[in-house]
């Protein structure tokens, strides 16, 4: 039976892994490839690498970083987000070592290109990533480049409903970096029930993760720097979540030989 996933998130700004707090403050942590190596070694189910300044600066995906991470020989599935402009960028990201792609700015700027990406890579490789907050019970989608938020436009909703992406990353951007802060109402108010959800932003403690992962619509929970604060945090957290439909805690390395 398919398991739900615990995803480790690495947020990258100006080439450095950072602790991100509410999409406003970013505190440097170190080299992203080292954080990735740790998450891999600790046996996290999946890694999400999000480079938050690539779209803002029009830089395209950070293929050099992907290459550095690829050289580590990680044995954990990798999703990449940041700077993807078109199908060619998406193909390049996969060839550089990512299994899947998450999109935010591309969905906003040109939602039809998401469908083009699906025809090249398959919808199973694509995730929509939406930083959301509830205003009057309605999800408002933040444009992280200018700080403005609004409802999800109909053309984007149509793409999301149309099968071009396979999962949706629901980001509680206001509570990102705040322990136990994830607003679970975001999951209740999400208007497209057919899309499996990945919850992210302020998830840190086992009790809240257990509640979130118990929801049928939630396929995965993503945790950021809370997994990087202490050694073996993945094993520890999974140990606290025993009984949930998660893969049993297991170390990914060292490899057989």
């Amino acid at each position: 039976m398919i398991q739900k996933r615990l995803i480790g998130v690495i947020t990258v700004k100006q080439g450095w892994a950072v602790q991100s707090i509410g999409y406003r403050r970013h505190l440097p942590m170190g080299k992203p490839e080292v954080v990735a190596e740790n998450l891999d070694r600790w046996g996290v189910d999946e890694i999400l690498l999000q480079c938050i300044d690539r779209s803002r600066q029009g830089l395209g995906p950070d293929l050099a970083l992907l290459e550095r991470i690829s050289r580590k020989g990680l044995a954990t599935p990798l999703t990449y987000q940041g700077g993807i402009r078109d199908a060619a960028d998406g193909v390049a990201v996969v060839q550089a070592g990512a299994e899947r792609i998450a999109m935010d700015s591309l969905l906003r700027d040109n939602p039809h290109r998401a469908a083009e990406l699906a025809s090249r890579l398959g919808a199973q490789a694509l995730i929509g990533a939406l930083p959301l907050a509830l205003v009057g019970g309605v999800p408002q989608w933040l444009d992280h480049r200018n700080g403005r938020a609004g409802p999800i436009p109909p053309e984007v909703a149509a793409v999301l409903k149309g099968g071009a992406i396979s999962e949706l990353l629901v980001v509680d951007w206001q509570h990102e970096g705040q322990a136990n802060g994830f607003d679970e109402a975001l999951l209740d108010q999400w208007p497209l029930p057919s899309l499996p959800l990945i919850a992210f932003g302020g998830l840190s403690e086992a009790a809240q993760l257990r509640r979130v992962l118990s929801r049928p619509a939630v396929a995965a929970a993503a945790v950021g720097n809370f997994l990087s604060w202490r050694e073996h945090a993945v094993q520890r957290l999974k140990g606290q979540l025993l009984g949930m439909p998660l893969r049993a805690p297991a170390y990914a390395q060292p490899c057989c030989g």
Binding site: Q3, R5, A98, Q124, Y251
Partner: protein, 221 residues
């Protein structure tokens, strides 16, 4: 085209000889991840679309991420279809991974009808029990095949929405999205020297790498 060689000489040996895997580069795959996994196991990995280079390797690996029609078009464009079929007839071991497994089939219904490599009987059709099969799932090995038997019950990483419908004699392992006993689908197929793996062994941590090693070394004489 590019190449990559393993540095670890302590494993991946067949007798005293280092095993060389040829990764078929048709422009639609996660070549880097597979190559790193292979070199991590101690094998040489040659990424190429040159038939002389690929034909000189011990085992062909056909990775793949994407849609079936685009992948087959790329294989035709690079004149690799006849080559792969010929190597299969000659007995060169071939391993298809994810989309690479599906390409081994006779045909696929993804984005319309497309003819595949036809190396293992069967059709690729949409998953019936869900729209996608994404994440970690356990595999149930349905044969006594020593290449796969040690992996029975272990969790592997999947990411697909179409499945290979193969006759039972070629189905080596199955998984299921839910607990329904009658809704299993093939996740490993085998016909002689040809093996298909629907999951990503290169990204399935220890379990996947152990399986990959077992399959490669089990296919070699």
């Amino acid at each position: 085209m590019s190449g990559m060689s393993g540095m670890n000489g302590m494993s991946g040996m067949n007798g005293h000889r280092r095993i060389t895997a040829g990764l078929v580069d048709y422009g639609a795959g996660n070549l880097a991840s597979v190559a790193r996994a292979l070199t991590g196991l101690g094998y040489r990995a040659r990424i190429s679309r040159d038939i002389e280079t690929l034909g000189s390797t011990d085992v062909l690996v056909l990775p793949g991420v994407g849609a079936f029609p685009a992948a087959m078009a790329a294989l035709h464009q690079h004149r690799l279809v006849d080559f792969i079929q010929g190597q299969a007839r000659r007995g060169q071991p071939i391993i298809g991974i994810c989309l690479g497994m599906q390409l081994l089939a006779h045909s696929s219904a993804e984005q319309g009808f497309t003819t595949g490599l036809g190396l293992i009987p069967g059709q690729v059709l949409p998953l019936q029990t869900a729209r996608w099969h994404i994440g970690w799932n356990s595999m149930e090995v349905t044969t006594d095949d020593p290449l796969l038997r040690p992996s029975d019950g272990l969790s592997m990483y999947f990411n697909h929405s179409f499945v290979f419908h193969a006759p039972a004699e070629y189905t080596a392992a199955v998984s299921r999205v839910d607990d329904a006993p009658d809704r299993a689908f093939a996740v490993a197929v085998r016909r002689n020297n040809i093996v298909g793996l629907q999951f990503h062994p290169e990204k399935s941590q220890l379990a996947g790498r152990a399986l990959l090693k077992n399959v490669i070394e089990g296919l070699l004489p």
